[in-house]
């Protein structure tokens, strides 16, 4: 069957793409997965793959032209198939109508589910491009929550508000399994941490970590109210800021000692900060989290984005599972990522999907500043310059190396005290960095 090929979403922030080069001509055979065209996105030039087998029947936008996400750019089908209907709808197609998809989803009782299943891949292709698989959408069609009878009953009995649960069934239907998952999630909610817990064990050397695993927990009514109210005050992400001063004497000493032992390592204070932040995040999962509208997502690992300034602007390569990595590994990894960032050679998965960010302007002598959260992350830590300062200690004035850090928090997911407790742990470890070596 002939299908429209639409402008795919090739980077997380992409809204439209420019057709750099067609790799196939009209009349060429294409098979699924084969490169069809090169698309310039806002970040890089990417290959776009064919999603079905057939012949490239019609090219709808020429090289150099741009199209918004979801707009038909070509038609693939059988050589002798009638594509006039598709051509007509393509010329009428408005850019990526998001509400088009739910409308086509059948009501559960209106059409046999088999048909619904068969339609899903089609919709993914014609309306939303590569990234959508039709699952995990909010469980709503035309404003109704789709839920199976037993799931509804179980939710009612457990006192769960099923409107907050994402359904995994066809069309986003909430099914029994989703309620069971939500109920077990409820029980496993981590307790608030007090004091330092044992260091997480360092990972095996050479292990490559992908993006962190996570669990989604339903947003509680209270959390929803907080989110709704705060979002009306400060803009889409309601920021608040917490600043703390840290005595850096020991951290600086440690860095010096390690660099004496490993002169080639070139361990920076920033590397130490990445590690300490990651370890502290694991102890405060509420901060290693992101607000997902219907759920709060808690990450298992601390994937730390490090802001790197390049000629073209800011980019944020990610150190995956930083809490598992040793101070001997982090410097090299950060350096390598930063070099490739400056060369614009990062792949999208290397600069997206972090759980937390660090921005350091200390090298410019900035004492303290506030950074802007990179959604959907829950927080970002702004690092000021380390400098000698007079501090009062035991009623005497001493000169100590100090550093001020300011965390911007997304108030929809992190409350003041939660953020403050995290910073306390961060400070504690930073001021007693030997902690990193007793895990």
């Amino acid at each position: 069957m002939a299908t429209q090929v639409v402008m795919p979403k090739l980077s997380p922030t992409m809204e439209e793409g420019q057709l750099a080069r067609w790799l196939k001509k009209e009349g060429d055979k294409v098979s699924m997965g084969e490169p069809l065209a090169e698309i310039d996105t806002d970040k890089a030039t990417m290959e776009m793959q064919a999603l079905s087998n057939g012949v490239l029947r019609k090219i709808l936008i020429q090289e150099g032209e741009s199209a918004p996400l979801g707009q038909p750019i070509a038609i693939v089908g059988e050589p002798d198939e009638d594509i006039s209907e598709l051509l007509k709808t393509a010329s009428e197609a408005k850019p990526a109508k998001v509400e088009a998809a739910p409308k086509e989803l059948p009501e559960p009782d209106a059409a046999p589910a088999a048909e619904a299943k068969a339609q899903e891949p089609k919709q993914a292709q014609t309306t939303t491009g590569i990234s959508s698989d039709g699952k995990g959408q909010p469980a709503q069609a035309e404003g109704r929550v789709l839920i199976s009878p037993i799931a509804a009953r179980m939710a009612a009995e457990a006192g769960l508000d099923f409107k907050t649960i994402q359904g995994s069934g066809p069309g986003g239907r909430i099914v029994k399994k989703d309620i069971e998952t939500a109920m077990s999630g409820k029980r496993e909610r981590p307790a608030a941490t007090a004091g330092l817990r044992p260091m997480p064990r360092s990972g095996e050397k050479g292990v490559v970590y992908g993006p962190s695993a996570y669990r989604d927990e339903p947003v509680s009514e209270m959390r929803r109210t907080i989110a709704r109210r705060l979002v009306t005050s400060l803009g889409p992400v309601p920021h608040f800021f917490l600043t703390i001063e840290i005595d850096m004497e020991r951290a600086a000493d440690m860095r010096r000692s390690i660099n004496e032992l490993y002169p080639d390592l070139k361990l920076s204070i920033n590397d130490v900060i990445i590690k300490v932040a990651a370890v502290a995040l694991i102890q405060h999962p509420q901060v290693n989290a992101s607000f997902q509208d219907k759920t709060v997502r808690y990450y298992e690992h601390a994937d730390i984005a490090v802001a790197v300034a390049t000629e073209n602007g800011l980019i944020t390569p990610v150190v995956r599972a930083a809490e598992m990595k040793s101070l001997l590994d982090i410097p090299g990894e950060v350096r390598e990522l930063a070099e490739r960032a400056r060369a614009r050679k990062l792949k999208p998965e290397e600069y997206t999907g972090a759980t937390f960010s660090i921005s350091n302007l200390g090298m410019f002598g900035i004492e303290e500043f506030t950074a802007v959260i990179n959604p959907p992350e829950g927080a970002i830590l702004a690092i000021g310059a380390m400098a000698p300062k007079p501090v009062v200690k035991d009623n005497e004035v001493e000169i100590r190396q100090t550093m001020r850090v300011t965390m911007s928090c997304d108030h929809r997911v992190i409350d003041g005290a939660t953020g403050a407790k995290f910073l306390q742990t961060f400070k504690q470890i930073m001021e007693n960095p030997l902690y990193l070596f007793v895990g």
Binding site: P108, D109, A113, A114, K117, S148, P149, I150, A151, R153, S168, G169, P170, V175, K176, K177
Partner: protein, 321 residues
């Protein structure tokens, strides 16, 4: 299977002298499918009677004999030919007790093969259970194993109401243990759980029971545990056993050889919807014969009858896996 049926007939003919058998080729030829083998020799031409090719006629004779106090067993060479006799079955047999104010009971059994055979095309491959189950006054029985066939046929013969006893041509050669006990009967209206499971219920009858059991075996390997229920009697239907199972598994697939529209699976689906709505995690799924007259071509015939793969796909669909 054919021997189990033969044994049931033989035992009941011997047990009760009011029982007699008639139909096309049942006596001299010993049955088109040899279900009546040896019966003429053993019970003689007054008890085992060859009829002309006159379904409406001999069905009517049977109803009259039943009204007069005998217990006829009428064989249709296949149920496709019973269509000619429906006036006697539906208008006479099914309604006589009611319309005579309880004066005439009709203890008759209409039996024969139902459903698909092998390449006998549209007119000779029909599954007609939903026709007969539709009418108050008839009981409809469909065995899926030799033992069930024997136990259920004996109960059908002993029953005082007209019973439509539907065998399956593809299953006559089926092998299985059969109790030799002459008093072994299986009550009408009682389903049997043929396989226990937790994740999904498959209701199947007749030819679909072995198919569903194979599907359940395969699904077990894929991590889905299926309960397979054979109602055995379509009317009266043992809906309680099905509902109990659905309350446990929350998911129901009904497999049937017949067409879906106005079929037995549709009825089961409606009953479950009314009685166990709050327990369902997915819509009840029917796996039925394709909605076309049975094709003659072998490949198309195979495609028209539900198979293991289609049942597996349906169970996976309702299990969201």
């Amino acid at each position: 299977m054919r021997d189990a049926l033969n044994l049931a007939l033989k035992e009941e003919l011997a047990r009760d002298s009011s029982v007699f058998l008639m139909g096309e080729e049942v006596a001299e030829y010993q049955g088109a499918y040899k279900v009546t083998r040896g019966l003429l020799e053993e019970f003689g031409p007054k008890r085992v009677i060859d009829t002309p090719i006159t379904e409406l006629g001999f069905a009517g004779l049977g109803v009259g004999a039943a009204m007069a106090g005998l217990r006829p067993i009428v064989e249709f060479m296949t149920f496709n030919f019973s269509i000619l006799a429906t006036d006697q079955i539906i208008n006479s047999a099914a309604k006589m007790l009611y319309m005579s104010g309880g004066q005439f009971k009709i203890p008759i059994v209409f039996r024969g093969p139902n459903g698909s055979a092998y390449q006998v095309s549209s007119q000779h491959s029909q599954a007609l259970e939903s026709w007969y189950a539709y009418f108050p006054g008839l009981k409809v029985v469909m065995p899926s194993t030799p033992a069930d066939a024997k136990g259920l046929l004996k109960s059908a013969i002993r029953d005082d109401d007209p019973v439509i006893f539907m065998e399956q041509e593809r299953m006559y050669g089926m092998k299985g243990e059969v109790p030799e006990d002459e008093e072994f009967t299986i009550p009408l209206g009682v389903a049997e759980v043929k396989r226990e499971g937790q994740d999904a219920t498959i209701v199947a009858r007749s030819l679909m029971v072995p198919t569903a059991l194979k599907a359940a075996e395969e699904l077990e390997k894929q991590g889905i545990s299926c309960e397979v229920i054979d109602p055995r009697t379509i009317r009266p239907l043992d809906i309680d056993t099905i509902v109990e199972s659905v309350k446990k598994t929350n998911r129901l697939v009904v497999a049937e050889e017949s067409h879906a529209f106005c079929g037995v699976a549709a009825e089961i689906s409606a009953e479950v919807n009314e009685r166990a709505f709050d327990y369902l995690d997915a819509p009840v799924k029917r796996v039925s014969g394709v909605d076309v007259p049975m094709p003659y071509a072998k490949n198309l015939e195979q495609l028209a009858i539900p198979d293991v793969e289609r049942i597996i796909a349906a169970v996976r669909e309702v299990s969201y896996s």
